[in-house]
Amino acid sequence: MSKGLLLAVSLGAATVALVAMGTMWPIPAAAAYAGGGSLLRSSSTPEAAVQNLGDEIRMNAWQKAYDSLANKAQFTEPQFVHDLTGTYPSLRTYATLENFDVQPLHASTDEAEMRMNLHWSSVVGAFTSTRDVHVVRNGDRWEAEWPIEKEPVLPPQVIPVNYLRWDVIYRGAGDDWGAQDVEAPHVRIVDMHPVQRAEGVVILGELLNEDVVPAYVSVTATLQSKSGATIETEGSFDRISHILLPKQVTPFFINFPDRTLSEVGSVRMTPLSQLVPASADPVIEIQDERLNPAPDASLTGQLSNQSGQVVNVAHVLATFYDKNGQVVWVADQYIDRALLPQTPVPFSIHIPEDLARKVSTERTVTSSYSSGGTQ
């Protein structure tokens, strides 16, 4: 073999070898685009079968995922897809599976139980859903049995709605100075409590709309040093119910990461209220709220939509009080399923372990988003 041919063969072989390496053991950036896997993983173990299923869900390869299931005869592919993405538009519909982990719960020679923790990324933040997947051996392969949760479908019906609505006419641009405008709603901070947490300073509190009109509200807190200098200003962002109907109360939670209470001399609270058009619907009932003690302290319950309108995204804000009625914590959760009329949907809000013992009572409020209208 001539030197030239030897070089050509060497370069060609090296190229093929490098491509093979890159495919068998992809670098992280490439693995992320390939759904986290490589060409070579087969469903030869229960873990691999569930991992492959997770990869297919991550890449929205629904047909491939459905075809790989052992119990696919029990439901259709659309039902499988709806179980993961929701029949009605909801947080799940627009969520992407960021990553997942698989924990073996039980295994024998022919079957195994695996727990899949699916970490979703959604527009309002990340959420995790957990599924216990039964895996069965089929020849030299393992196949997952998907624990289908069929979402109820609303029967065709007419729901009469007689809801309240406020509209506002503001002063015109050409009005004279001194001309009267509609008054901003009167709101009041009824409680405010700074707390030092590991992640920083947190301002907790409650805001009341004491007016007879709906209010758009937000709260801004400014930390000031002992010398009166401004340290930092932050707002409540989404940890508040921004639309308050008359006499409604919302908790608020303002976070100052990496700050310590010792450097703070005072806190200046600035509530903002604005008169906005609003609707009194939908009314959401919160049922069966329970404070579950530590470990894994949580507040659980169910949301039931009392209106005829489908709520696409619901946000639960819980205020926790000690036995003296002082606010000790505010926590929230977005509900990943749509709220159908009269169909309860569970929620579970985690309570920090160190605060769980102090919690005596709680109060929960919801805010909601429906495509085409918000509250």
Binding site: N162, L164, W166, D176, W177, G178, Q180, D181, V182, E183, V190, L208, N209, E210, D211, V212, V213, P214, L245, P246, K247, Q248, V249, A280, V283, I284, E285, I286, Q287, D288, E289, R290, L291, G301, Q306, E362, R363, T364, V365, T366
Partner: protein
């Protein structure tokens, strides 16, 4: 005005400032002129000169024959303030000053009434402020009596009369016990301004609910919700129903509709059901069925 001319006049004004307070020997000007009125200036001497009148927002320039009276028609000067008169003729400059004062007759009111909406029964809860202007939008600084009247829908009237100080007057009024749109009027001279003050019900008072079985649920319904003055609390006000049972709790924030709030909650034997609106608590029911 061209910058060059502004500069020239500014320079003239500065040069003349030490003398401006005094009446020029050869220049006779009125001590004060009512805004918009005609006036005249008499000069002495002979020959031709140029007369400048410089004031806040106004500048007049006239070529004059010295020794004659120069007349200015109505509306020539209408911005109230202190004016400087400079007569430039030949090698000498004469100067004098006079005031343009607002017309004594009010022609316009700026009336600020706050708030536009408030609860019933608040002492000094309503504030009215008035600024009095003449026809040329000069603040009338002369003391002028302003009358304030707050009339509720029942025709009851609260009256105050306040004399302006430096062109403004203000007063405080009580909101009445009756809800509705009150008419708040301010009058000065022959002019008036009106605002509407919405008096709205206060917090619910004596909040009460009734319960009755409806299948597997309890139908909870409030009595018509009123404030402590007997006004109906407006629809849309949130009433919170809370049911506590077996260590669990159910909550509904229900808006008032047609004066009452109605909600169905699960029936649990021994449950305690309470009602609240904002920071006001209502009655409590124990469900034993």
């Amino acid at each position: 005005m061209r910058p060059g001319l502004t500069f020239l006049l500014g320079s003239l004004a500065l040069a003349a400032t030490p003398l401006a307070m005094a009446q020029g020997a050869n220049l006779t000007v009125p001590k004060s002129v009512e805004a918009g009125n005609a006036f005249s200036i008499q000069s002495a001497g002979s020959g031709k000169g140029t007369l400048y009148i410089i004031g806040p927002g106004d500048l007049l320039k006239r070529d004059v024959q010295l020794g004659e009276t120069t007349s200015f028609p109505s509306g020539a000067l209408y911005n109230a303030g202190h004016y400087l008169v400079i007569l430039a003729g030949g090698s000498s400059t004469e100067n004098a000053s006079f005031d343009v004062v607002p017309a004594s007759q009010p022609a316009n009111l700026s009336f600020l009434a706050k708030p536009s909406r408030l609860q019933v029964g608040l002492h000094n809860g309503i504030t009215g402020s008035v600024y009095v202007f003449d026809a040329y939008q000069n603040l009338v600084s002369a003391p002028t009596p302003v009358s304030f009247e707050l009339t509720n829908p029942a025709g009851e009237v609260q009256k105050r009369t306040v004399t302006t100080h430096d062109g403004s007057a203000w007063t405080e009024m009580d909101s009445t016990a009756k809800e509705g749109a009150d008419r708040f009027v301010a009058r000065a001279g022959g002019v008036s301004g009106a605002r509407v003050i919405g008096q709205v019900p206060g917090d619910p008072c004596g909040l009460k609910m009734n319960a009755q079985q409806q299948g597997q649920q309890i139908l909870l319904e409030t009595a018509p919700v009123r404030d402590c003055s007997g006004n109906a609390v407006p629809d849309g006000t949130i009433i919170t129903f809370t049911e506590t049972y077996d260590g669990a709790e159910s909550t509904v924030d229900a808006p008032l509709k047609r004066g009452i709030a109605k909600v169905a909650m699960p029936a649990h034997r021994g449950a305690r059901i309470s009602i609240a609106s904002g920071v006001v608590m209502g009655n409590e029911i124990r469900w034993e069925k």
